[in-house]
């Protein structure tokens, strides 16, 4: 009993236990979770109107809203959900119960909204705070001001053969660990170039798409070419658990960005722009821009960019001969700076009179977003800003791409992969323990080693859950190498401590020091070997390197010291 007390009061062991506890909290395991989790909610759909919200892209898997029952019928999995949806009739009320509340939805036919390459002008009214001077006293009051803004024209197709509640779902997650594309499957989007392009241009398209998706924050992606037997080229994109609308929006845009004054181009996306601000201090929503029109809310975003000197000079040349007009207290030039994305006017900016004829490199870009509520307008606006920034950074694609079809795809490693991996992991740990027991004939070594191995796996998964890292085949390879090194290093510790010839030359402390000298050397060497792999372009190498670095660091600084402490408490006096 004395030993047990010593073990649980040892600082290193307490640290290990605390870290394991934190890891378990981060993983948040609920192995028996039922229901379907909401991946996203379609704008203006039944669900959207009933107040169900799309989760934030950064939300952890376990924090997503889970549908438990509809009309009191339990929904345990995807099949339950879809078979229920298939039987619905239009204009009925259904009650959807989730883990966060109950919603009443009015069923509607499935619709599809297409954004056209045309724009229309809409009049919006917005509330503006003004200060008036009445009888020499400043009076603050709010007035309604109308303004005309340009928005893209949309058409809506209604399919009256099926009902769509407007919720995209997947089987409720059981932990916070995100599974990668090859373990979980994802969305598969097939794109066709509008015209035939050369192999070189195709390479540019592929790398541009990858970069766009990466900058947008979708990292677990496979992009490849595919062609049918008659020689038509397509591009195939696979993305883990992504929202397909976002992907379509992002990759089906050619991204030809032009800023014009009249008919003259001032600058284009790509090389003309040297810097795009994406941090909060110089990009975001204009707080004074909220407005309403026909029940829709609007708001504007803005962010700073830097132009190349040539583009700035061009702006100076084009503004030199413009006239100054005065509107209220502000002086503007008589032409606006019009922003076009794929030949569609996204915004028109007034040019301040002080910019006339000056080669200014730092300018502000803006645009807008709309939605049913103020909150929705804000998030739409932010989304549009992120898209525009992504496109400005990556420049345009050599060709326009059309979405041919989108499907969900099952994992490339098979549905049973994860179960099988856990099973063989378990067998591997058992067999390692057996060999270690045969070698040392001491449970005091074998049991702590087994526990350390399991602890290390839990901690790696905990870190992965915490940083939102996708576990895929590369990460699994990383975990295997970490477990392997863990066993290696514990054998080094055991041998240094237990061997008779070591006991003759060194005292206990020196022997621990000797063991950790070897372990630290191996750690630093592996660590630096992983750095270039982390920097290499492809996700495969990066996933492997990051998991390995996290794992070996956890091992060297947390689990191995604890293992050495346990062995010391159990064996020091027996030798």
């Amino acid at each position: 009993m004395g030993n047990l007390k010593k073990i649980f009061t040892n600082l290193r062991i307490i640290i290990l236990l605390a870290v394991i506890l934190l890891a378990v909290i981060a993983i948040n395991p609920h192995p028996f979770n039922k229901g379907v989790a909401i991946r996203n909610v379609i704008m203006n759909s039944s669900a959207n109107l009933a107040g169900i919200e799309s989760p934030k892209p950064t939300a952890t898997p376990m924090s997503k809203e889970i549908i438990i029952s509809i009309n009191n019928k339990p929904i345990n999995n995807l099949n339950d959900y879809y078979s229920f949806e298939a039987e619905l009739k239009p204009n009925r009320t259904v009650s959807v119960k989730t883990n966060k509340g109950t919603y009443r939805l009015i069923t509607k036919y499935r619709t599809e909204t297409i954004v056209l390459n045309e724009t229309i002008n809409e009049t919006i009214t917005k509330e503006v705070d003004v200060t008036e001077i009445i009888n020499g006293i400043n009076v603050n009051k709010t007035i309604n001001k109308t303004e005309i803004i340009t928005v893209p024209k949309t058409i809506t197709n209604v399919y009256n053969d099926s009902i769509d509640l407007g919720i995209r779902v997947y089987n409720a997650p059981t932990t916070n660990v995100r599974k990668g594309l090859d373990l979980q499957g994802g969305t598969r989007v097939l794109l066709e170039p509008e015209e035939k392009i050369s192999a070189d241009d195709m390479e540019i398209v592929l790398s541009n798409i990858k970069q766009r998706l990466n900058i947008y924050g979708l990292s677990d992606i496979v992009v490849r070419t595919i062609s049918d037997l008659s020689g038509n080229q397509y591009i195939l994109i696979e993305i883990a658990g992504a929202n397909e609308e976002e992907v379509k929006e992002l990759v089906a845009k050619q991204g030809k960005f032009e800023a014009k004054i009249g008919n003259d181009i001032v600058f284009k996306g790509g090389n003309d722009i040297t810097y795009i601000c994406r941090s909060a201090d110089c990009s975001g929503i204009d707080p004074n821009s909220y407005g309403q029109s026909n029940g829709q809310w609007f708001c504007r975003f803005r962010f700073s960019i830097s132009l190349s000197p040539e583009a700035a000079q061009k702006q100076a040349d084009l503004t030199e001969n413009l006239d100054i007009i005065t509107e209220g207290e502000n002086d503007y030039l008589n032409e606006t700076l019009d922003l076009y994305l794929d030949n569609q006017n996204v915004d028109s900016l007034n040019i301040g009179s002080d910019l006339k004829g000056r080669a200014v490199t730092d300018i502000q870009i803006s645009g807008s977003g709309s939605g049913a509520t103020q909150q929705e307008a804000l998030s739409e606006s932010l989304k549009n800003m992120k898209k525009l920034q992504t496109i400005l950074i990556t420049g345009s694609l050599p060709v326009k791409l059309n979405v041919v079809k989108t499907d969900a795809i099952s994992p490339s490693l098979g549905e049973e992969f994860v179960k099988n991996a856990f099973f063989i992991g378990f067998l591997a740990i058992l067999s390692v323990s057996l060999i270690v027991f045969l070698r040392y004939r001491k449970l005091e070594i074998t049991l702590p080693m087994m526990i350390t191995l399991i602890a290390e796996v839990i901690i790696i998964l905990g870190v992965a859950a915490l940083i939102g890292w996708n576990i895929d085949i590369a990460a699994i390879a990383g975990i295997i190498i970490v477990i392997g090194s863990c066993v290696d290093h514990q054998i080094v510790i055991s041998d240094e401590l237990l061997k008779k010839e070591h006991q003759v030359f060194f005292n206990w402390k020196q022997r621990i020091g000797n063991a950790f000298f070897i372990i630290m050397a191996a750690y630093f060497t592996t660590f630096v070997a992983m750095l270039p792999l982390m920097r290499a372009g492809a996700g495969l190498l990066k996933g492997f390197a990051i998991t390995t670095i996290i794992g070996i660091s956890v091992g060297v600084f947390i689990t191995r010291p604890a293992f050495a402490a346990v062995v010391e408490i159990l064996l020091k006096d027996k030798l």
Partner: protein, 305 residues
Amino acid sequence: MSEENNSGGRFAKNKQISKLLEWYDKNYKKLLIIPIVLLILSIGVIFYKYAATGDFIDKDISLKGGITITIPSKDIDADSLKTYLLSEFPESDISVRTLTKLGEKTGVMISTSDIDSKELLNILKTKYGELDYNVEEMGSSLGKSFFKETFIAILFAFLFIAIVVFFYFRQPIPSLAIVLSAFSNMVVTLAIINLMGVKLSTAGVAAFLMLIGYSVDTNILLSTKVLKRKDGEVIDRIVNGMKTGLTMTLTTVTAIVVAYVFSQSAALSQIMLILIIGLLMDVLNTWVQNAGILRLYLERRTKNG
């Protein structure tokens, strides 16, 4: 395996093992020839492969691309289709995945890098009758520059390993010896995998990277024992380290063999196979090659100093 009784021989209680170790002690220079010849042969195998096929190893569908056949049918089960195809084309590289749209199954997608599309379609027709299908040619999942990037990244990894080991031991030759050992390990394993006709997948690429890690563990152990410890003669320290090192390799190999036997996933099997070969080769690379180089180096140093 305790070392309480030293009467058996100089290095171990067991006479045979002790004799073997004595032989190892006397003939380390001659033994050095084995890994050197193996490395040269392996480079030869890889170059031959490159000259013959234009690629240094056979690649599977994930690395090279291939054909995909999409069948828009709700009734075909992906798992049983895969079992059927593997029985018709054993040893082939086949993957079958399900496509769904809004929860409804829309079809199955068969991908392969090494079966002719006509042959595959014929086999499908004999089982399922006439089918709607789409045949497409699929490119690699990794960009064209992937192998170049990996190669450069590994070169830098070796360079960094050399620098860290140099800082630790302050001696250039042992640093280079560790890098050479890790390098030989990867090259020889690649050659053996090549001769076995394995088609490398993305998982296999990860497995090769794992070899760096394992190789570093045993080599650092050896270098520390030889260069930092002062107890006994060099050979005693090598043998002392070898006992620890072989235990390390034995536990890992056992775990990996178990995993290999019970794995139902082609990706995991390939990782395990590459690791088994790599770890067995690492025994040679560490305890014959690196140990031999270190002994030669220390002998030279004593002679000159």
